[in-house]
């Protein structure tokens, strides 16, 4: 293998990581973040929440099982700006494989680098916080641009209203960059799902809405004013609402809460969250303290919890907020991904809990 000296990742502070290109021959800039999941790279790469970001995967062998058919992706294209791995595997083996990861990246025009010491890069991002950076392929420089200054949600959201599944109840999913698996998990519950663009005023739709789900999405929640003001209206109308990830932050902001940027965010499939209010000691009635393993992908978090709400979950590692729930009404949101993909399916019950509270399931 001949090392292409012109392929490298350069961080904002000038640190360089020389690598071997295995994606598109194209230079890009973005926010450099790392994720520690050991499987699920096709899901991660197509997660719209990664829009504008250069994703570093800490698991050292990436590409092992190639890329599956589009119907298994989380959106219709690769969302990351660029990919950085330790070793790329160009000889995958899997029954559901359609192409190699390299072929896919080149087809979609996404640059990717193999830099061996992703651990050093991860430690740097962990210690110094996420930073801007650029992937340079073939010597072409690009200006460093902070994606968080853009309205990334507007970029990744659907442009048209579409519906999925059949059911007597209608759930509106506000697409701020929704992962396809949210739709799949809702359809599996025999509900009708209407996916609407990020800036849709749900209260003005010309059909009855039984509940609203605010999706995940990329970037700084404070950049999504339009959605925030729309959520206010939904809550005023007392339509049951569930927020996921960015949706958690937007719900909080809409109702008087605040958000802030984490040093290096949570991007992994092994984040422990504790159900608030469960007692530390076991007793026969409560079942004791409950903890769930979750998939997370966020750089911002809720700080101040809005009035009338209480903490629903908190992170067992750093005690950050992982969800809020209204004291009496069916308004709730989680910072993690109950739809997973990639990651553990342990909190899929959140959907059922919400629909029960929202009386979507009737008396069941």
């Amino acid at each position: 293998m001949k090392k292409n000296k012109l392929s490298k990742l350069i961080l904002k502070d000038g640190t360089e990581f020389i690598g071997e290109s295995f994606g598109a021959s194209k230079s890009i800039s973005g926010e450099v973040v790392f994720a520690t999941g050991m499987t699920g790279y096709p899901e991660a790469l197509t997660d719209p929440s990664f829009q504008g970001q250069i994703l570093v995967l800490t698991y050292p062998l990436i590409g092992n099982y190639g890329v599956p058919d589009k119907k298994f992706w989380e959106s219709s294209k690769i969302q990351v700006a660029g990919l950085v791995v330790s070793s790329y595997i160009d000889t995958p083996s899997h029954h559901a494989m359609q192409m190699t990861l390299g072929q896919w990246l080149r087809k979609e025009g996404i640059p990717a680098l193999e830099i061996k010491d992703t651990r050093a890069l991860t430690q740097k991002l962990r210690d110094e916080g996420v930073t801007l950076g650029e992937i340079i392929i073939g010597g072409k420089n690009v200006p460093l641009k902070d994606p968080n200054l853009r309205n990334l949600v507007a970029e990744v959201s659907t442009k048209k209203i579409s519906s999925f599944g059949n059911g007597r109840k209608t759930i509106v999913l506000i697409d701020c960059g929704a992962k396809q698996n949210i739709v799949r998990r809702l359809v599996a519950r025999k509900l009708k799902i209407v996916v609407v663009p990020w800036n849709t005023d749900v209260t003005k739709l010309n059909f009855p809405v039984d509940a609203v789900v605010i999706s995940n999405g990329p970037g700084d929640p404070q950049k999504v004013n339009k959605t925030i003001s729309n959520i206010k209206k939904i809550i005023e109308k007392e339509i049951p609402t569930l927020g996921i990830c960015l949706g958690n932050q937007l719900l909080a902001l809409a109702l008087g809460g605040t958000t802030y940027k984490l040093k290096f965010g949570h991007r992994s499939q092994n984040q422990p969250v504790v159900l608030s209010g469960t007692p530390a000691r076991l007793n026969s009635r409560s079942g004791g303290r409950k903890c769930y393993l979750t998939t997370q992908n966020h750089g911002f978090a809720v700080k101040k919890i809005p009035k009338g709400f209480k903490e629903w979950f908190y992170n067992a590692n750093d005690n950050t907020n992982e969800g809020i729930i209204h004291e009496t009404q069916p308004f709730m949101s989680v910072q993690f991904h109950p739809e997973s993909s990639p990651g553990p399916l342990d909190t899929d019950w959140i959907f059922d809990y919400f629909f029960k509270k929202a009386k979507i399931y009737g008396t069941k």
Binding site: T36, G40, Y65, K116, D117, T118, Q269
Partner: protein, 1059 residues
Amino acid sequence: MKKILVLGSGALKIGEAGEFDYSGSQAIKALREEKIKVILINPNIATFQTSKTLADEVYFLPVNDYFAEKVIARERPDGICLSFGGQTALNCGLELHRKGILKKYNVKVLGTPVESITLTEDREKFAKHLRNIGIPIPPSGVAVNIKKAKAVGRKIGFPLMVRAGFALGGQKSGVAVNEKELKEIVKGALAISPQVLIEKYLHHYKEIEYEVVRDSFGNTVTVCNMENLDPLGIHTGDSIVVAPSQTLNNEEYHKLREASIKIVESLKIVGECNVQFALSGSDYFVIEVNARLSRSSALASKATGYPLAFVAAKLGLGKSLLSVENKITKVTQSFFEPALDYVVVKIPRWDLSKFTGAHEQIGSAMKSVGEVMAIGRSFEEALQKAVRMQSGLLESVTDNSFSNEQQVKKFLHIPTPRRLFAVARSIKGGVSAEDIHKITGIDLWFLYRIENIVKTEKKFQKNKILNKETILELKQIGFSDKKIGSLSGKTEIQIRQLRKSMEIVPSVFAIDTLAGEVPAKTNYLYLTYHGAHNDVSPIGKGGIIVLGSGPYHIGSSVEFDWSCVYAAIALKRRKKYSIIINCNPETVSTDYDISDRLYFENLSFETIADISEFENPFGLIVSVGGQRPNNLAKQLALENFHILGTKASDIDRAEDRNKFSALLDKLNILQPKWTSFTSMKQVLKFTKAEGFPVLVRPSYVLSGSAMRVCYDKKQLFNFVNKAAVLSPEFPVTISKYVENAKELEFDGVAQNGVLMIYGISEHIENAGVHSGDATIVYPTQRVYASTEFQLRKIAKKIVAELKVTGPLNIQFLVKDNRPFVIEINLRASRTFPLLSKAMDANFPEVAVDSFFNKAKKLHFQYPKGVVVKSPQFSFSRLLGADPILRVEMSSTGEVACFGRDYDEALLKSILSTNKFYFKNKNVLLSLGGNLNKAKFLDTANTLISLGYKIFATNTTAEFFKNNKIKCKTVRKAFEAKPNALNIIEGKKVAFVVNLSVENKNGDFIKSRRDTDGFRIRRATVDNQIPLFTDLHLARAFIKALSKYGIDDLEIKSYKEYLH
């Protein structure tokens, strides 16, 4: 909970090895941290968990319900832990529960409820349970005729596995892919059995395992998943295992994870559980569930850094996963799933050539005796490391000793320990990965990685360009300096210097359980060439490297790990930083809290040198990890690494036969006559002068055993010509074999050539039985004070001459009160833990003190009692192996028990390695040779007086009748029924004594296989009946039986036996 009883797993055996020392030790530490008093039952004296400092009380007693009840009655614990001592502890616990003993004494089972364990142990009920909760299991059915078989077959779908019911060893079983084949196989099977079992044949399914942890609050995590490189059909203990899984996508990974959690939840597991799956495409089945710590959980623990046993013990006390700190990061807790940023490869270690006649093929029954684990940033790097760790003899997957293409083909098709090498060789020979996949069922992903290694090697062999780019590429793919050297015509040292001059050195990476996400305070390290930084900075002169023992195998087991662990602990006491290097995941020495730094790395010169040059420690300890590190002393010293204790040149004087022999002559110390020869002519000169029998030791063995006793010229010629290489390069050593001599072990620690502490123990068998297989007693029972005096004198002379500092072991042969020295090892020996515990003096600690010139002469007292060590054999696991004691070692483990006297200790010790029923008063005697018969006469009378009914094979019976001893004659094994085999198979006898004249004679394997003796011995071990093949041991056992019944055996803790 104030007092808890922990059950250990007893002796190391195939299928139940060192991993349970690790899990038991962690459990005891976890409990003691909660200020709970811990009682341990485990007769395995070589383990760390049976040390005085760990549990509050240790009982060196058999792990069975009889002795456990006695201990419970005496100690009255509040709770009992069943899941840390393997199947042995679990079975014992279930028996205690079944008999109502736990209820009677109000002992609570900690962790998973007994009902759940019972459920998982009952195949049929458990299958029903899994079906009820919607978990798929391989569909199966039973048929009594062809019509029914067809119906069952149609329901399940082809291919099908058909087995004859109640038939041993897979007789008349087969795979049917269509109805015609099904009909044929069923017809055959019904001919020998009233029913056939038909099961879905999971041909070439992937085998995947999950390690699950659940607390009593219902919080559950899967700590690790693992993928077997070998497809289903090869026992996971005999499979190459990779962590995490490599070929599963997110959906498959989480589908299986969810199923594991569902099972664990349904069983209300509290603690640890292992779930095994078969997976093919989107099809999966659960194939096994172990509701306890297992070999896999030990591996998962080391692979991820998550201390499973420690956590499981805490959960057993009712703690939540959230309240148990993550011992690796120290900043997070135990409710999480480790994210790995490396690849782990485990390769089993087999020793099948050590067992005469054992079948080489591997399959559904485990045969390996140990394992190694390698960590890398690529699969290739980890795999090649593991290959080097496994035996220390191979450098790469491309190394092999296949003599021709036919052999390669054979080993590719038949699964054996050599399959991996046959795969690499086949790829090299041009067989496509796709074809190999079809033959072996190994996933293409793995084959492509092996192909990458082969191709890279080929490419390098063509141009041999040693530039920075090429060398780095070879190192990243896991090639050693030695291998690169042999490919390019250079020495290991030349390549080493070249690569260092190019600044190609491995990076030191840490295992932190969270892939770098949090700054963890971890001491758990590995080396990789896929890095550009180090996670830690060097310790420097305050550090001392302790070399571990590598994989457990015949001759090197948990006893060496025990010495390593205590060396590390002693270093701490001396305010030094200990740096352990070891590659065996079944050990305590590789636990997170034993050393200041742990390198999970190979014990090779290259790796040790790399670590030493990085850490720049004060020195290295090579003398506590057994022979493997000891062998490296010379090369390490040559390259100027500081070895603590005895100088490498003096170690060499003890190891080199010629030098050592000259030394003994110089010191006027007797040794058996010997010579080394390179031609048959020289040999005849020797045997003419000294006579037969002789002990023959080739320096290069083609196959089979490395040592043989030859009784005549014909045997000698046969052995040397067929099994060994005889050339000036590979001389063969021959020595006079002294018959009917006693063997004594002298263990000690010296400082600057002066003995600081020593102990002498005695073999119960005569010399000729390998010391690892011998039954050993301390203090000596039949040795004159004058002999011991002579031994001490000789030892002192040798120690002074070799200026020994550190551990030593001398093996003596005593004939007519004259001691001969047969071997010396300037390292900790197998008997170190036994003597340390019996004498209540920690030998490895004294050794560490001696390195710093701080050892003091220790005056010790003899213990109040006697301790006897017995070997544990695993013959029943090894189809075809002849269960007989020879000059070569074949035991896999040991136990030792204390008693008031020799008889009591011996009895307890034998009960710990055998299932012996006192109430069964029948015995089978088959005594070959007139001398054996005569020497057994008194003992036979003892048996009669004890009320035993003697069954004897014909010549033995004849002899007894002539001597007026009542016995029943049984026919020979090959004669008509009822014969000797029927008596054994019907479990009619309590034990079997089979003495054969050709006992020490390893020759004539082929003819012996079919002898009566072989068949009797084999049937005895197959039916788990105690077998005695040594006259002295058999006599000692029967004498002990005459003195003690089971009720007479005293139940005393270890501490009570010390002064």
